[in-house]
């Protein structure tokens, strides 16, 4: 146990309470101070396992400190600081608290040395992220938040099932290399895969992130998927399935991004595309590829947050985010435009920007592994990134047609946050060595060779030439005010279909039972017991009449019986009949038992 420090993430989580209570400048100072304090606390921990807690004859490890967890811890703290700076003027208890808990849970998850601690932080992330989506308080955001929550609860159950089986199989809760093989390993793999937004399991991401609050989307873009990247890099390095999953992830979202109108949804698809490169790196499993995955996650968190911040600023200032509604905003928001272009250049991997020094490691690792098809798919996706994130985002929002919107530039805290992220994107791009020195394995990778710079610049600038020619010739597809179906159609429409099915079958059954029992049966019983002796005789006469066929005789006897009942001149009293019936039923029950 380390006495002079706290478990990583705990400071951020506990700091949510004052963040929800404080107001004004005090809260602002607190929001900036807490990530810095938490980072210092984290860096004070030496390598090794700390904060060990006994748990049902097992040992929970709240802080497993090594090179892999520290590099994720550092970038999570940096982005928590930037996102808090961006959200400095947001006076919303829920968002302020949820953002800190979310960041703290993500930090806690990457330092968790056992599966139970990991699961607790994993679910804490789900809950806090849901608040960041619902905090926008629109009908759409509430529904999207609910869908997000349901998907992650299901994946969390899958993960929990896997963890319980894994502990049963291996006898330990320690979280380390798992690899595919047993049922438990597959369940954990899929649980991690949902958070990584694998193909067909990805639908929650472009559904929920664009509906989050302006500042919430910045937090969301950083933590959930990158925590999943971390756990996969920890537990499943060298798993071949991840190569193909990742390759598919790099390619399919870019087609959706091309035709998407909502610019924050474009960024969501782009996020999946970038995580695809990280998956390929984990799947290859060499030191170079894992370094590439980690460095790309580091760079990606910064430039993706920067892009979400710039689009968030557009949404914040104009109230609009569709490409068809905005345009020409470089006049009103020149600083936001400049920062957005830095983010776009970084994600496109232009030389001197951060994406260039990280993505090329994964590409090189794929080439060295002779993965030709995967390499081609990633090269295609690299050209595709230029379209939707490199060109479409800044062009649609700040240039393109003049929407006529003349708004104020984004508030100063937002500009400072974007400026800081942009500076880091350029800083990493120009001086990659500090980032390389943090990576899990030592590396002497040299991104800046003349040949590499020229080939990458050719790839991107000739793709840009295609854009320019298509735009000038009028063949470039227009932005259309519409939505595009994705796999979420199954959950949205499937949910409705299930509702209708339940409505028509279960409710119909309920109605029938209500009518039959509450109304018909009760009425008949009540009628019977109003004149039970008479009714018993009536039933008897009917039976006799059916057997004998003499209806006139039956009618005569029935009217005589009814008259006796009404005058109380019946040979057998009602009370006696009820007592006999009761005793008969009781006897039958006793005999049966």
């Amino acid at each position: 146990m380390t006495a002079d420090a706290f478990p990583p993430g705990l400071i951020l989580i506990l700091a949510a309470v004052p963040a929800a209570l404080l107001r004004g400048r005090l809260r602002q100072a607190w929001m900036l101070l807490v990530p810095a304090l938490s980072l210092c606390n984290m860096l004070a921990l030496p390598d090794g396992n700390h904060f060990l807690l006994p748990f049902f004859r097992q040992e929970l490890v709240l802080a497993r400190v090594d090179r892999l967890s520290v590099v994720f811890g550092i970038i999570f703290h940096i982005i928590a600081f930037i996102a808090n700076l961006y959200a400095l003027k947001v006076e919303d208890r829920f968002q302020n608290a949820a953002g800190l808990v979310y960041a703290g849970a993500a930090v806690g998850a990457v330092f968790a040395g056992d599966l139970f601690t990991l699961f607790v932080f994993w679910e804490m992330m789900t809950l806090s992220a849901t608040f960041l989506i619902m905090a926008r308080r629109t009908e759409k955001s509430m529904a999207a938040g609910f869908r997000y929550f349901m998907v992650h609860v299901v994946s969390g159950l899958c993960l929990l099932g896997g963890i319980l089986l894994q502990v049963n199989d291996t006898g330990t809760v320690a979280f380390g290399y798992i690899g595919l093989g047993t049922l438990s390993s597959w369940l954990i793999f899929i649980g991690f895969g949902v958070n990584s937004a694998w193909p067909l399991l990805h639908f929650w991401l472009p559904d929920a992130y664009p509906e989050a609050t302006v500042t919430g989307a910045v937090f969301l873009s950083a933590f959930t998927t990158k925590t999943a990247v971390y756990v996969l890099a920890r537990a499943y390095p060298g798993t071949e399935a991840l190569i193909w999953i990742g390759a598919a992830m790099t390619v399919f979202p870019i087609f959706f991004a091309v035709i998407e109108n909502n610019l924050r949804r474009v960024l969501s698809y782009s996020l999946i595309n970038q995580v695809g490169f990280m998956m390929v790196g984990i799947g290859i499993g060499t030191q170079l590829s894992l370094n590439g995955t980690v460095s790309h996650a580091f760079s990606h968190i910064l430039y993706k947050a920067l892009l979400f911040m710039s689009m968030g600023a557009v949404l914040h200032q104009t109230g609009k985010i569709n490409a068809t509604d905005v345009g020409g905003l470089f006049r009103s928001m020149p600083w936001t435009c400049a920062f957005c272009i830095v983010g776009a250049a970084s994600i496109s991997a232009f030389p001197l920007f951060s994406g260039f020094v990280s993505k090329s490691m994964v590409m090189e690792a794929a080439a060295l592994g002779d993965l030709r098809l995967v390499w081609f798919l990633m090269l295609f996706a690299s050209a595709g990134v230029l379209h939707h994130a490199g060109i479409k985002i800044p062009f649609s929002a700040f240039f393109s047609h003049d929407s006529g919107i003349r708004c104020k530039e984004a508030p100063l805290p937002m500009l400072l946050a974007m400026g800081l992220a942009a500076a880091l994107c350029i800083g990493i791009g120009v001086f990659p060595q500090p980032l390389y020195s943090l990576l899990p394995y030592p590396t002497d990778f040299q991104p800046y060779t003349a040949g590499h710079v020229v080939s990458q610049a050719q790839l991107l600038l000739f793709a840009a030439l295609a854009f320019a020619l298509m735009l000038l010739s009028g063949t470039h597809p227009p932005e259309i005010r519409a939505i595009n179906l994705d796999v979420d159609v199954l959950t949205r429409m499937g949910g409705r279909a299930f509702y209708r099915l339940a409505d028509r079958t279960l409710n119909a059954l309920n109605d029938w039972a209500d009518e039959a029992v509450s109304h018909r049966l009760t009425r008949r019983i009540a009628l019977f017991f109003r004149m039970p002796a008479c009714n018993v005789q009536r039933l008897g006469f009917r039976a006799l009449a059916l057997l004998c066929g003499n209806h006139a005789w039956m009618k005569e006897k029935m009217s005589l019986s009814e008259a006796r009942c009404e005058t109380g001149a019946h040979p057998v009293g009602d009370g006696v009949l009820r007592a006999v019936l009761f005793l008969t039923v009781l006897t039958i029950l006793v005999l049966i038992w």
Binding site: I254, F256, A367, H387, F399, T449, Q456, M470, I480
Partner: protein, 89 residues
């Protein structure tokens, strides 16, 4: 004499004036040309044989972009496009 004030056409920002745009296009073309020339000079450590083909990356970037845009526009969009109120019904 007509004293009615006449609103002049608002002046275009420098960035989107025709002259600026033409200069930018010319600079862009020059950079593209320079990049093609630079390939002959810049040595690249190649892993796959096709990386040695002159202009491979330039051609790939151009063609990939065109394929991406046309497939998205003419194959994917007709399948998945719905009106904005689709999920609200």
């Amino acid at each position: 004499m007509n004293h009615n004030p006449v609103n002049p056409e608002p002046k275009r920002p420098p960035l989107i004036r025709q002259r600026t745009l033409k200069a930018m296009m010319a600079a862009f073309a020059a950079v593209l040309g320079a990049l093609l020339l630079a390939e002959g000079w810049a040595h690249r450590h190649v892993i796959f044989p096709w990386e040695e083909w002159y202009g491979f990356y330039a051609a790939f970037g151009f063609v990939a972009y065109v394929i991406l845009v046309f497939v998205a526009q003419y194959v994917l969009r007709p399948i998945v496009i719905r009106d904005e109120g689709y999920y609200d019904r």
